[in-house]
């Protein structure tokens, strides 16, 4: 029994897949998104890197090597995808600040600056230079955040510790969603009598209502407040994922969880359906078009074997950056690991090159030559290519 035919099936619930999905549902297509697990967005800072190579990200994009997938989309499309993203985040109550014309900084948990482009409103007040006085609030027992890393780097920074009887970022964020907790916390904070500068928090100021909670603290304390992204479990990353996912669903998209795609049904040049392991009758979902947005290695789209790299679903040809010796730089912290270039090469309509399929389109982190780490282009590239792929799909279905 094939449950009702879909126009489009998207594989992967990351920034790329959800972006493509939302656009297609809004245009009235019947879209299902299937995922085996949660995306890398949950591990991220929640900030949208477009291209960190230049102060002007769009300028940075034009300097990327010719084979970079950003060159498959016009600057107008990058701008539109960012506009669209910002609009939808406003609707979801999790607004972003920034524009694709200029990069900005967020303060990292190490006290260094991280270059990015769009930041959630909870990080909008992050210092852009060394001048601001900072007072950091941390929580007793919180193991994933050490304010002394920051105070060691910045002369004009100090910190206080609050006992919130929770010691994990998730536990703290859950507490902040409770009004009684927030009220108690605010009266403690007022007593600290912070007169000057900005107040900084590890990013635990709630989950669903982080933007409002941050604003509430600002209004009560009458000073600027901002969050510092932590290592995973990263709340801003989760908020981004939740907002994108809920937006997609609000518009009418359907998500199938627990659906690791393991095989395909095909005739000639057409993929008819994808299948997932099942203990019982075969589980398959069919559609006119399939969008592959299964991410790179961490997301699960690619797997590295001893001497080769494979794409796990359609077995598409993968660009492999030479012999294994070239995959990794000798310096672990280098941004130049060859493996960052691995992925699927596509044509101008985002169909995989040298593959047989007419109705498969590819977007996001699984694309070849992205070098996300080196170019600082993670979510931005996922947004732009997700947006562009939606257009290609519509062209094909027509």
């Amino acid at each position: 029994m094939g449950l009702i035919q879909h126009d489009v099936i998207i594989i992967g619930a990351g920034v790329a897949g959800l972006t493509a999905g939302s656009i297609l549902v809004e245009k009235g297509y019947n879209v299902a998104l299937i995922a085996k697990g949660e995306p890398t967005a949950c591990l991220s800072t929640g900030c949208i890197d477009i291209c960190s190579l230049d102060h002007d990200p769009l300028h940075g994009v034009s300097h990327l090597p010719d084979e970079h997938p950003y060159h498959l989309v016009s600057r107008a499309v990058i701008r539109e995808s960012i506009e669209k993203f910002k609009e939808s985040m406003v609707q979801m109550g999790f607004p972003y600040t920034g524009s694709p014309e200029s990069n900005r900084y967020v303060l990292s948990a190490l006290g260094t600056f991280k270059t990015t482009c769009l930041v959630p409103s909870t990080m909008a007040a992050a210092p852009q230079d060394e001048k601001d006085d900072l007072h950091i609030i941390t929580f007793s027992g919180l193991k994933d955040f050490y304010p002394s890393y920051i105070t060691a780097r910045r002369k004009n920074a100090s910190f206080s510790t609050y006992d919130a009887s929770a010691s994990t970022t998730m536990g703290l964020a859950t507490n902040f969603e409770r009004e009684d907790f927030l009220e108690k916390f605010l009266s403690w904070l007022e007593k600290l009598n912070i007169q000057e500068g900005k107040i900084a928090f590890p990013a635990v100021l709630g989950l669903e209502s982080a933007a409002t909670i941050t604003q509430k603290i600002e209004e009560r304390l009458r000073c600027k407040v901002f969050e510092i992204p932590t290592i995973p479990p990263s709340m801003p990353g989760r908020r981004l994922f939740n907002a994108l996912k809920d937006y997609f669903r609000k518009k009418g998209g359907m998500i199938y969880w627990s659906w690791p795609v393991s095989g395909v049904e095909k005739t000639k040049k057409i993929i008819e359906a994808v299948t997932t392991p099942s203990e019982g009758r075969p589980k398959s979902l069919n559609a006119k078009v399939f969008i592959l947005a299964s991410g790179s290695f961490v997301g699960g789209g690619l797997t590295a074997r001893r001497d080769t790299i494979v794409e796990n679903i359609f077995n598409l040809p993968v660009f492999v950056p030479g012999q294994r010796d070239n995959w990794f730089d000798s310096d672990y912290f280098s941004l130049n690991h060859g493996i960052g270039k691995a992925g699927i090469i596509v044509d101008s309509s985002f169909r995989p090159k040298e593959a047989d399929w007419e109705n498969v389109f590819v977007c996001g982190g699984i694309l070849a030559h992205t070098d996300v780490l080196k170019n600082g282009c993670g979510h931005g590239m996922a947004l732009a290519t997700g947006y562009a792929v939606a257009a290609s799909c519509m062209g094909y279905i027509k």
Binding site: M1, G2, L3, I4, A32, K36, G37, E38, P39, T40, C42, L43, A166, S167, T168, M170, G171, T174, E177, E208, P232, P233, R238, N242, R249, G252, M254, I255, Y256, W257, S258, W259, P260, T276, S278, E279, G280, R281, K283, V298, G299, G300
Partner: protein
């Protein structure tokens, strides 16, 4: 399916664990699952009592990007722990919930009275059972004594109604039968027992297997006679489809899994095949659709939502990030009360923010928890479908 070596320690499962969010004693799926698994030795007695705090909601399984399935690792650890340690009264009682409920139903008027008195509550507490929401009311007339109608329909269904419907809400069960009959489907009620999930959740593999084998044998006869098995409770469904072939190693499991459907999945199939063309009429309700964790885990999408979308006038919003916290018998145990109440309250507060008038959920225990904590009506999707098609319990 034990892939603990695949864990990259990304903590995505931890973020998704409802228990970890509110109970500091539970170290979360990563530590309780893949991390601790390295230290669990065949020959050593298990000491990790906190594995019992896992509610088996399966959210960690669904979130892990690496196919680790922490919940399955923990489930096995729970069974080992259960085998090696004396069981508490509450664990024993809930593992045998089926017999208890059967007794409760037989004596419904008395049992309900006792359960609602102060003394009754004291007895519950002494047994380690909570009463923060009223214990569900036993029903005198269970599904078992339902009479079968003669039918010449092409489609045939063996209805696995599950304990909740049977002992507490047979009225919903009867509506479902009427609904399927109105679709020209022949419905039978096969001989059946508890699916086994409560026993499994209380670390009692032997009892779970006992029930599962009996069910499998009974259902298998119907499948051989051309019936499809249809379940309505998503936790029964997950147990039949996932645990029978998995941890319970039931020999007839393959046959069961190949022929078993969620009620709404089945109805959509009928529509899809052109077997029926239901004429849905307007239902003016604003509903918060709480997705049971185990429906999510089934990997069939949200079939009831597809039907809701066909009902004119119905407004609904889907909530699938919140666990209701009750998890069947889990929340009724005194040790888990605080966790269950905190999670339930959170779920209810998110629902209330939307201005919904009713709650809807496929699982009886979710309905009991959310309805109990919110004071709102909590409905089964089938009740809404029946309302839209003008189908009542009677005819």
């Amino acid at each position: 399916m034990i892939n603990f070596e695949h864990c990259i320690r990304c903590t995505i499962c931890v973020e998704n664990c409802p228990v970890f969010r509110v109970n500091a004693d539970f170290p979360g799926p990563k530590q309780a699952g893949p991390d601790a698994q390295r230290f669990r030795m065949e020959k050593e007695k298990s000491v990790d009592k906190w594995v019992l705090l896992c509610s088996q909601c399966k959210r960690c399984n669904m979130a892990c990007p690496c196919g680790v399935y922490p919940a399955e690792i923990i489930l096995q650890a729970q069974q080992r722990y259960g085998l090696q340690h004396p069981r508490t009264l509450a664990h024993l009682l809930f593992a045998n919930n089926y017999y208890l409920s059967a007794l409760g139903s037989l004596t419904a008027p008395v049992a309900n009275k006792v359960a609602s008195t102060k003394i009754g509550k004291k007895i519950f507490h002494a047994m380690g059972i909570t009463t923060y929401i009223p214990f569900p009311k036993f029903s005198f007339k269970t599904m078992k004594n339902e009479k079968k109608k003669k039918s010449k329909a092409v489609k045939k269904v063996a209805f696995f109604y599950g304990c909740f419907i049977n002992f507490y809400r047979p009225d919903i069960g009867r509506k479902i039968i009427r609904l399927l009959e109105s679709f020209n489907v022949d419905v039978v009620l096969p001989e059946q027992w508890c699916c086994g999930l409560p026993a499994l959740g209380n670390g009692n593999l032997a009892i779970a297997r006992y029930f599962a084998q009996k069910n499998a044998a009974s259902l298998s006869n119907y499948i051989d006679a051309g019936y499809d098995v249809v379940y309505t409770c998503t936790s029964c469904g997950l147990c039949l489809l996932h645990d029978y072939p998995g941890i319970l190693e039931i020999s007839l499991a393959k046959k069961i899994t190949e022929n078993t459907y969620d009620l709404h999945e089945y109805i959509i199939g009928l529509i899809d095949d052109g077997y029926i063309e239901p004429q849905f009429t307007k239902v003016k309700r604003k509903i918060a659709y709480h997705i049971p964790c185990h429906l999510r885990a089934l990997g069939i999408g949200y079939p009831a939502a597809k039907i809701m979308a066909m009902i004119p006038g119905l407004e609904y919003e889907i909530f699938d990030d919140t666990c209701c916290g009750l998890n069947g018998s889990y929340g009724f145990k005194k040790t888990n009360e605080e966790t269950a109440v905190q999670l339930g309250t959170r779920a209810v507060s998110l629902i209330k923010k939307t201005g919904a008038e009713n709650i809807m959920a496929d699982c009886g225990s979710c309905r009991m928890q959310l309805g109990g904590l919110s004071g709102m009506d909590a409905l089964d999707p089938a009740e809404i479908i029946c309302e839209s098609l003008g189908i009542t319990e009677g005819k």
